[in-house]
C-alpha cells in the first residue's frame, strides 16, 4: 500500500526581485516501513521538499498525502530532525525530549516513561537533568532523535542529521538510527549529499537534479546491502559498484546543468 504520495509538486519562492522555482513536477510514492534517501547537489530543493512533506510549507502546486490524507491536515504524524540538534539550551535534556509531548498535550506518565526509556536505549540515561551544553555533539543529536521519536511519528524526516558531526560519531549514529528505526518499523526519508550515507542507510535512493529541483533517477539498493547495518554495508563488496553507478549519474547531472 502506498504510505506517502507526492503528486506533481511544484514550489516557487518569491522575493521582490525574483521568483525562484525550487521544485518542478516531483511525483513519487513511498511504502510503509521503507527507508528512502533524497540525494543531490546543493540547490536541488531537498530541504524544500522535506518541508513540504512535513506540512511546514504549502507547495505552490500539487499535494502530499500521508495514508491518503493531505499532510497539512495531519497533526503530529511526522517527525522532523534537523542538521543540528537544536536542543533548547535553557531546558534540561528531559525537558527537551518531552517538549513534543508537552506541545501536543499528550504528556502522560506512560508517554513520559516511554520517552525516558528511549533515552536509555540511546545510551543517555543519567543525563536527564543535564543541560545540552554539557553533552557532546553526538550525544546531543541522539537526544534530538529521542525528542523526535517521543511523539511516536509515523513518518520520520531526517534533514542531513549527521552532517555536522565528526566521521566516527557519524558512522556510529548512522548504525544507531538505522537499527532504531528498523526495530520500530518506521518509514523514514533521509536528505543527504553524502553518497555513501545514502547507500548505506536506505532501501531506495532518489537522485535529484537542481534548478529547478526534480527527480532525475531512482535506485533500488540491492537486497545484499539493504539487510546490513550501515557500517557493514559500507564494507560490503557490492557497495562500491552502487557507489560508482550513482557517482556517474551525479556527474551527468552536473554536465547537464
Amino acid at each position: 500500500m502506498v504510505f506517502l504520495k507526492l503528486e506533481n509538486i511544484h514550489h516557487t519562492y518569491f522575493t521582490k526581485k525574483s521568483a525562484t522555482t525550487a521544485l518542478a513536477g516531483v511525483t513519487l510514492e513511498i511504502g510503509e516501513g521503507e527507508f528512502v534517501s533524497f540525494l543531490g547537489p546543493s540547490g536541488c530543493g531537498k530541504t524544500t521538499l522535506l518541508s513540504i512533506i512535513a506540512g511546514l510549507i504549502q507547495p505552490t502546486e500539487g499535494a502530499a498525502f500521508l495514508e491518503g490524507v493531505p499532510v497539512h491536515k495531519m497533526k503530529n504524524q511526522i517527525g522532523y530532525m534537523l542538521q543540528q540538534d537544536y536542543l533548547f539550551p535553557w531546558k534540561t535534556i528531559e525537558e527537551n525530549i518531552l517538549i513534543g509531548l508537552k506541545l501536543t498535550k499528550t504528556l502522560t506518565a506512560a508517554s513520559r516513561q516511554n520517552a525516558l526509556r528511549l533515552l536509555g536505549q540511546m545510551g543517555l540515561s543519567g543525563f536527564e537533568s543535564s543541560y545540552p551544553h554539557e553533552l557532546s555533539g553526538g550525544m546531543r543529536q541522539r537526544a534530538a532523535l529521542v525528542r523526535t521519536l517521543a511523539t511516536e511519528p509515523k513518518l520520520l524526516l531526517l534533514d542531513e542529521p549527521f552532517s555536522a558531526l565528526d566521521q566516527q560519531t557519524k558512522l556510529r549514529l548512522e548504525n544507531l538510527v538505522h537499527s532504531t528505526l528498523k526495530s520500530f518499523g518506521k518509514t523514514a526519508i533521509l536528505v543527504t549529499h553524502d553518497i555513501g550515507e545514502a547507500i548505506a542507510m536506505s532501501d531506495r535512493i532518489f537522485l535529484l537534479s537542481p534548478r529547478p529541483g526534480t527527480i532525475y533517477r531512482s535506485f533500488t539498493i540491492p537486497a545484499t546491502l539493504k539487510t546490513l547495518s550501515p557500517f557493514a554495508a559500507r564494507n560490503h563488496p557490492d557497495f562500491q559498484a552502487v557507489f560508482q553507478q550513482i557517482w556517474k549519474e551525479l556527474d551527468e547531472i552536473e554536465a547537464a546543468t
Binding site: 497533526k75 503530529n76 534537523l82 535553557w90 506541545l103 501536543t104 551544553h133 525528542r147
Partner: protein, 270 residues
C-alpha cells in the same frame, strides 16, 4: 618521570594563579588610590579656596550634612520616596516595553505600520514630555513614575523586539514540526531565548529610570532627592546638591549590581 612532569605542571599552575592574584591586588590598590586622592584633593582645594567652596562644597561638609540628615530621618524619607518611584518606573518601563515588543512580534503587519512612529518616539527626548504629564496626571507620584517609565519603554520595546526577531528560526521549526501554536512558540523559544537581551536592556534602564525620575522630581518639586537637588540649587546650598547626588550614585550602583546578580542566576546555562 611522569610524576615529575605532574609536579612541574602543578607548580606552573600555582605560579599562574599567583600572577592573577597579584594583578588583582594592584587593580584594587590603584582603585583605592584614585578614590582617596579624589576626595583628598577635593577637600584640600576647598579648604584653601583653590575652588569656590560655595559651589563645590567639600567632602567633609557633604559628609556632615549626610550624617545630620540621616539622624533627623529626613534623608531616608526622601531617598525612599525616590527609590520607590525609580524601581516602579524601571519595572513598568521594562514590562510594558517587553509587552509592546511581544505585540510587534505577534503581528508583523502592525510592526511595519508602527515602525516610523517608533523611530520618532525613540529619538524624541522623552523628558520634554514632563510638563504635559504633570498637568495631565497631576503633580504627584503618578506622574513621576510615568516619567521613569516613559523614558525607557520605547527603547526597551525596540531592543527586545530586535532580539525576538533574531531567534534562530530553526528553533521555531523544531516547534512547528510538533504543531506548536504561536503562543507556544513565544513561550517555549522566543521569550527564553531573548532573556539575555532583556537583561541587558534592564541594565540600561536602571540608568534611564533615574534620569526620568530625577527630572520628574525637578518639575514637581515637592519631595524626593530630585527635589533636594533643585531646592539646594535655588537656595544656593550646593552641599545639599552634592549629597543628594552621592546618595543617588549609591542607589543606582546597588540597583545595577542587583540586575547583574539576576543576570548570573537567570542565564547560567548558556
Amino acid at each position: 618521570m611522569k610524576l615529575k612532569q605532574q609536579h612541574k605542571i602543578a607548580l606552573l599552575h600555582r605560579k599562574y594563579i599567583q600572577t592573577l592574584k597579584r594583578e588583582k591586588r594592584w587593580v584594587r590598590f590603584y582603585q583605592a588610590v584614585i578614590f582617596i586622592l579624589f576626595f583628598a584633593v577635593w577637600e584640600l582645594a576647598s579648604r584653601h579656596s583653590w575652588i569656590d567652596p560655595l559651589i563645590f562644597s567639600s567632602p567633609s561638609k557633604v559628609w556632615n550634612l549626610f550624617v545630620a540628615k540621616l539622624y533627623d530621618g529626613s534623608l531616608l524619607a526622601e531617598a525612599g520616596y525616590t527609590l520607590f518611584e525609580t524601581v516602579a518606573g524601571f519595572i513598568l518601563g521594562t514590562l510594558f516595553g517587553t509587552v509592546l515588543a511581544a505585540i510587534l512580534w505577534w503581528s508583523p503587519l502592525l510592526s511595519k505600520i508602527l515602525d516610523p512612529y517608533l523611530v520618532v518616539l525613540n529619538s524624541m527626548p522623552k523628558v520634554a514630555l514632563g510638563p504635559i504629564l504633570i498637568v495631565a496626571v497631576g503633580p504627584n507620584v503618578g506622574s513621576i513614575i510615568m516619567m521613569g517609565m516613559i523614558i525607557s519603554v520605547i527603547i526597551t520595546a525596540i531592543v527586545v523586539y530586535t532580539s525576538f526577531k533574531e531567534v534562530d528560526p530553526n528553533y521555531l521549526k523544531v516547534l512547528e514540526t510538533f504543531g506548536a501554536t504561536k503562543t507556544q512558540k513565544f513561550a517555549e523559544a522566543i521569550l527564553p531565548a531573548s532573556f539575555p537581551a532583556i537583561i541587558s536592556t534592564l541594565k540600561v534602564n536602571v540608568g534611564l529610570s533615574w534620569v526620568g525620575v530625577i527630572v520628574g522630581e525637578f518639575l514637581v518639586s515637592s519631595r524626593g532627592l530630585g527635589y533636594l537637588i533643585i531646592y539646594g540649587f535655588q537656595v544656593f546650598n550646593f552641599t545639599l546638591v552634592l549629597m543628594s547626588l552621592f546618595v543617588i550614585a549609591i542607589f543606582a550602583t546597588l540597583m545595577y549590581q542587583l540586575v547583574e546578580y539576576m543576570e548570573k542566576r537567570l542565564i547560567k546555562h548558556r
